[in-house]
Symmetry: C2
Subunit: 345 residues, 2 copies
């Protein structure tokens, strides 16, 4: 139901996705009448797809994009978000995806699904393109404003588990976002987190700086949700500004428009490579279920990528991998606690 466009984007995207992945079934959660109409419309474009692959799960309420978290959580107890999370909880679905209100989606999925053992706080992670042609996984992007060093360690662990998808079993390298060597080297929390990461079983690279996100220095960049959210939004703003300026320059006169036409194939390839739709779909990590957040402004193509991210997470056993990593960490900590208590005797 969610996102700026709602059903007209999500339902056709679900059909296109089902077409590409014949082994999937897509539960459409929300206002049943509206969804039924959208399914009928979509079936015209996908006559070969059986309706049975798109069961409608009824929910009587919809969380608005501007609903406060409390309203979404306490007053709308039959919201499509709540019901969708419950389908995962009940084992009816392997993953759930929403393009709605981020804060509400995090709060509701956390309330319904609960966090994994050993995880204090869920985090939001996304993949960003980098200069090496790969993707950098970054977290937290806004779920946690004030973080302790232990939280950052847990983010690192969850981010590494996520980045391992398609990483050929190689242990993803983890960088801790910090500021320049030449300045005061970060705050106390970041310093302590670096110590914890050094002692962990993770492939810890060390501190990285803002530009390392796009350089592709490491597979995973860890930071608190305030820094991550500001950085992500600033990047979106910069990319938008640059594309506006490109458009302005090519629209300056008939000559530049002609040049634009000639350069179109190259510009298109460029746009395709930096198209942020292919990076749509943030993962809400640390929950007992796969929960994906699509950008609210996602179009059908972008929403399809969010669905794909859900599929990848399930297919690659994200939850099992995360749980295993936490267990290993807890065991190591217990061992080192034992060792240090032994030392002190």
């Amino acid at each position: 139901m969610g996102g700026d466009a709602g059903i007209p984007v999500t339902v056709p995207a679900a059909f296109a996705f089902a077409q590409r992945f014949p082994d999937t079934q897509l539960l459409l959660v929300g206002l049943p009448h509206e969804l039924a109409l959208a399914v009928d419309a979509a079936k015209k474009d996908f006559p070969n797809l059986a309706s049975a692959r798109f069961p409608i799960v009824a929910a009587s309420e919809v969380v608005a994009m501007d609903d406060p978290v409390e309203v979404a959580l306490r007053r709308k107890k039959d919201s499509s978000m709540r019901v969708a999370a419950q389908t995962v909880k009940d084992g009816l679905a392997d993953a759930c995806v929403s393009a709605g209100n981020t804060g509400a989606w995090m709060a509701i999925s956390r309330y319904v699904l609960k966090t994994l053992d050993g995880i204090d706080r869920p985090a939001i992670a996304t993949a960003l393109p980098n200069q090496k042609g790969g993707a950098t996984t970054m977290l937290d992007l806004g779920a946690n404003v004030d973080c302790t060093a232990e939280h950052l360690l847990q983010f690192a662990l969850m981010g590494a588990a996520l980045a391992q998808v398609g990483n050929d079993g190689r242990s993803p390298s983890v960088g801790l976002l910090n500021i320049g060597e030449e300045l005061i080297k970060g705050n106390e929390v970041v310093k302590q987190a670096a110590d914890l990461l050094r002692q962990s079983a993770l492939n810890f690279y060390g501190n990285v700086e803002g530009d390392d996100i796009y350089k592709g220095t490491v597979d995973v960049v860890v930071c608190d949700g305030f820094v991550g959210n500001v950085t992500l939004k600033a990047s979106e703003g910069l990319a938008r500004m640059m594309s506006v300026i490109v458009r302005e320059e090519f629209n300056r006169s008939w000559l530049t428009k002609l040049i634009g036409l000639i350069a179109m194939p190259v510009l298109k390839r460029f746009r395709k490579r930096v198209d942020n739709r292919q990076y749509n779909g943030a993962t809400l990590l640390g929950l007992r279920g796969v929960v994906i957040k699509s950008h609210g402004s996602a179009d059908q193509i972008a929403f399809g990528f969010a669905l794909e991210r859900a599929r990848q997470a399930v297919a690659s056993g994200l939850l099992a991998r995360t749980t295993e990593a936490i267990n290993k960490l807890t065991k190591n900590q217990a061992a080192s606690d034992l060792k240090s208590s032994g030392d002190s005797v």
Copy 2:
């Protein structure tokens, strides 16, 4: 002496600047022999400029780009940075500019010049391009990792005084960098800072998000040095990645290279508009003197912009404006303290 290239960039840039601004004199501070050779070389390109406009002020030491702050401050007491800051302190110069080690430059200029009354911590500010074709002033960019609400208020005040240069007397709008409405709305310090800013005489817009920096929503964006540094560096990284991808796409084949040649005039205009050299020159605000930090990797053109920034700050009376703003704030606070103590009687 500083920067990645050192004298081969700074001295020719000084001559080019002197050519453009006939009323300026440029004190060249550093190793006298090396500077004398560079002056001789530069004079060949600028035969009309009198040597008297480029007096050499001798310093026997140079702070290295990787010198720890303590070494720069305590061991190198006759460094070019120290001597340069002293020329401002002694009234021999109106402003000083360095492309060297940021941490050392901040520490040394602060040690020599001291902070203005009412300012607890100096901050680093820079101008960034925005979609409206103007510039957004952003601070702090890394001088202060942990900030209180009062520090953020002082940054806002200093940033507004800086942004007023060429703002036609209009009071610059100030935004406080925060994260999305839909999420937990920022940390406690940011909330308190918003309260202080609302009570201040500043033209406070309210909270802004990362993308507002490049949208040009406000004239001044205020944040702590950790967030500011990461955001700035991430932006640099993203811009670099995009320009690498553009180059790769135009170099793909003889056809795309040909298209690149045809599109050259448009690409050049684009590059000129987003050329970050024109934004070179961060201002170290809150000191009893105009201190500018050039990017270490600045070339001659970029370093020229840093010199220009120093000139503008002096010509526009930045220090007087900042002092006035602080005095007004202090008076208002005293008045409101008096009022609230009166209320309680």
